[in-house]
């Protein structure tokens, strides 16, 4: 699902330093934050919205669509399961370094409740000009402008750079979809691509991948079937194998997840791959002209 202005957002961990900073930024941008969670501060108000003891309690007070987690790694599993059981349609999990077995339990809970998890270790979702949920500089008009390019990224910082490159070239974005840098994420690049393909406001897609795993190969399989132009950049060409490049999911091991294979798969599917992000706007323009 694509985040829209009307979606009601519950912020878990709303009273913390980061929770407060980003919730305020989201509210200023127009996000529909309906409440927060902090068991120790239940019954109070924070940033003009009620604070609840749990997501379940929050749902009883007012139904919500999206749960956004500002929760430390060791507490993330309980918070995610709470959000799923409370009926969240979408769970945006920003937390990095959640134990992998906890992540699998979160995914099991999401399967049972029909919740879509974005992340873990995502920078969030932005719908420029409408709303955002996460830790992206949506409010920085040098970076994000409303437009028709959908951006999918495993990395928040690279997604920011790419959106900036697009905006500098007069190409606004319909959606920024941060899928997350973890190896076991709830929404893959391919699934995000399917959503953007179905989105009426999205006319083309920039896919920002990185080494490790097979997300780009899987996305290429779907891109092959699309009529909307897709261009890509894959980070990690200059990275050595066998090393975890910051993200838990960014590692080339035993010949798996290397740059060349990803690039080959994308190009074979008709996706133009940029050597550096600054080439993306031109590649995209060429593709859009070819379609028109």
């Amino acid at each position: 699902m694509i985040l829209r202005k009307e979606h009601k957002i519950l912020v878990q961990g709303i009273t913390g330093k980061q929770g407060t900073f980003w919730t305020k930024a989201m509210q200023d941008y127009g996000a529909n934050v309906v409440g927060g969670v902090n068991p120790k501060k239940a019954g109070t108000e924070h940033l003009g919205v009620p604070v609840h003891a749990s997501a379940l309690d929050a749902a009883k007070a007012e139904p919500f669509d999206v749960a956004l987690m500002f929760i430390p790694p060791m507490a993330a599993k309980a918070a995610a399961i709470d959000a799923c059981e409370a009926g969240a349609k979408l769970l945006v999990c920003l937390t990095e370094h959640i134990p992998a077995h906890d992540v699998m339990e979160m995914h099991a809970a999401a399967r049972a409740s029909g919740t879509r998890i974005v992340g873990p270790n995502t920078a969030g979702l932005v719908t420029p000009g409408e709303t955002f949920a996460g830790i992206m500089p949506a409010f920085n008009s040098n970076v994000f402008r409303p437009g028709s390019v959908g951006v999918i990224s495993r990395s928040g910082s690279l997604g920011t750079l790419v959106s900036l490159n697009l905006t500098q070239n007069g190409m606004g974005q319909s959606v920024f979809y941060g899928v997350g840098g973890d190896p076991m994420i709830g929404t893959t690049s391919r699934e995000a691509l399917e959503m953007l393909d179905a989105d009426a406001k999205t006319e083309s897609v920039v896919l920002c991948g990185e080494i490790g795993g097979s997300a780009e190969e899987d996305a290429a399989d779907y891109a092959r079937t699309m009529s909307k132009p897709v261009v890509a950049f894959i980070a990690g060409r200059a990275s050595p194998p066998g090393k975890k490049m910051g993200h838990a999911g960014a590692i080339v091991s035993g010949g798996q997840g290397d740059y060349a294979a990803k690039r080959r798969a994308l190009e074979a599917a008709g996706v133009a791959v940029a050597d550096v992000p600054s080439q993306l706007p031109e590649l995209l323009s060429e593709r859009l002209k070819a379609v028109a």
Binding site: M74, A100, H101, A123, N140, S157, E210, G249, A250
Partner: protein, 378 residues
């Protein structure tokens, strides 16, 4: 976090799997004594890498003298980039069948996956690549776990020389150990059926999830040391991920994706990155520590600072860099490009305090840093 065989196998034993009697030794005298106590044995190099047998790091010894001779030969050997410093002296097992079993975190199903093959032993990867059906897979619902019946269903139809029930028990025990110890991967290769029908784990590979290490403190100290340079070790102590790459253009960026991208851009414009070092995520206040580590690299000829702030505030990172730069007063040129959260304050600070104008385009900053590194080297 990887564990060598000697540290991994006792975890299997604690979960109910049979392992041979064994002793860890560090010299050939101790190998002799261990072989005396154990009897006919296998002398096994302990290094955190595969293909030990093919490299000559695993030898059978019928007598203590033989064990001593093998120990002398294997200690000090280089295997997969590691020097052998420890040996496991292990009792010989009469092998009838060599099988393969593993449990791992599977990104596709977002849950545990049990793997089993009757083609265990040294060439399991090649064998199952040639014939993918030789590797059986069973996704597990983590909320239910692996029941004995599930394990039996995975083995259904295989000729296992009458050991099917015992192998199913072994798989259940393996799964329990995988869960208990927060493994990313727990692999037994080979899992053997002995001449008298027992099932024994002859080798074990255990990868502990890095993010779970905090809840396994007693274990983590037995993890195999990652080969690291001095600077990489210093960075780890400071809570930073630093990887030395051998080039001359230093890279300091926030976020894994942007840092890799910056390295890629350095390469694209004809330079060689000196390092990976990110100060994003929770590390975004550590710019000063980061810079000190970067500058200690003697190969550095220029430095590229690329901040694209999302979560990480560029003003906070820039402040750290500016302060550290003034303290350390390095004699190499530095090139900035700064965008995103806090960019106006960050750019103003760099201009004011260092008298340096950040580049508006990342590509221009990269080109300048590459050119400066080449000029310095010439």
């Amino acid at each position: 976090m990887n564990f060598e065989e000697y540290a991994a196998k006792p975890l299997l034993a604690k979960s109910g799997l049979a392992i041979p009697p064994a002793r860890l030794v560090a010299d050939s005298g101790a190998a002799f004594a261990a072989a005396q106590a154990i009897g006919p044995c296998v002398v096994k190099a302990q290094v955190p890498t595969g293909k030990r047998g093919k490299a000559g790091g695993i030898k059978l010894a019928a007598t203590p003298d033989e064990a001593k001779a093998h120990a002398k030969a294997i200690l000090g050997m280089e295997i997969g980039g590691f020097t052998v410093e420890k040996l496991l002296i292990e009792g010989q097992v009469p092998i009838a069948r060599e099988l393969y079993a593993a449990v791992l975190n599977d990104p596709k199903t977002r849950g545990p996956m049990v793997l089993f093959s009757t083609m265990g032993g040294m060439d399991v990867e090649e064998a199952t690549e040639k014939d993918p059906t030789a590797m059986r897979r069973l996704p597990v619902d983590i909320t239910k776990g692996l029941a004995r019946d599930d394990a039996l269903s995975l083995l259904d139809g295989l000729d296992l020389s009458g050991a099917t029930d015992k192998i199913a028990d072994a798989l259940v025990a393996l799964y329990k150990a995988y869960r208990k110890y927060d493994a990313d991967l727990l692999e037994i290769n080979p899992l053997v059926v002995t001449d008298n029908g027992n099932v024994v784990a002859l080798d074990c590979k255990f990868v502990l999830d890095d993010s779970s290490a905090g809840r396994h403190q007693g274990l983590a100290e037995f993890a195999a040391a990652e080969p690291q340079t001095e600077l990489e070790e210093a960075a780890q102590k400071a809570g930073l991920r630093y990887i030395e790459l051998g080039g001359s253009v230093g890279v300091l960026a926030n976020g894994a994706g942007l840092t890799m991208t910056t390295m890629d851009a350095v390469t694209h414009y004809g330079g060689e990155p000196a390092n990976f070092l990110e100060v994003g995520g929770e590390a975004y206040t550590k710019a000063k520590d980061a810079l000190s580590i970067l500058l200690a690299n003697p190969n550095l000829r220029s430095l590229l600072v690329n901040f694209c702030g999302a979560f990480a505030r560029t003003d906070v990172m820039a402040e750290g860099v500016v302060n550290a730069w003034k303290d350390l007063d390095p004699k190499i040129p530095v090139f900035f490009t700064i965008h995103g959260t806090g960019e106006d304050e960050a750019i103003a600070l760099v201009k004011k305090e260092l008298g340096i104008e950040p580049f508006d385009l990342m590509d221009d900053a990269v080109r300048a840093a590459v050119a400066a590194a080449k000029e310095k080297a010439a």
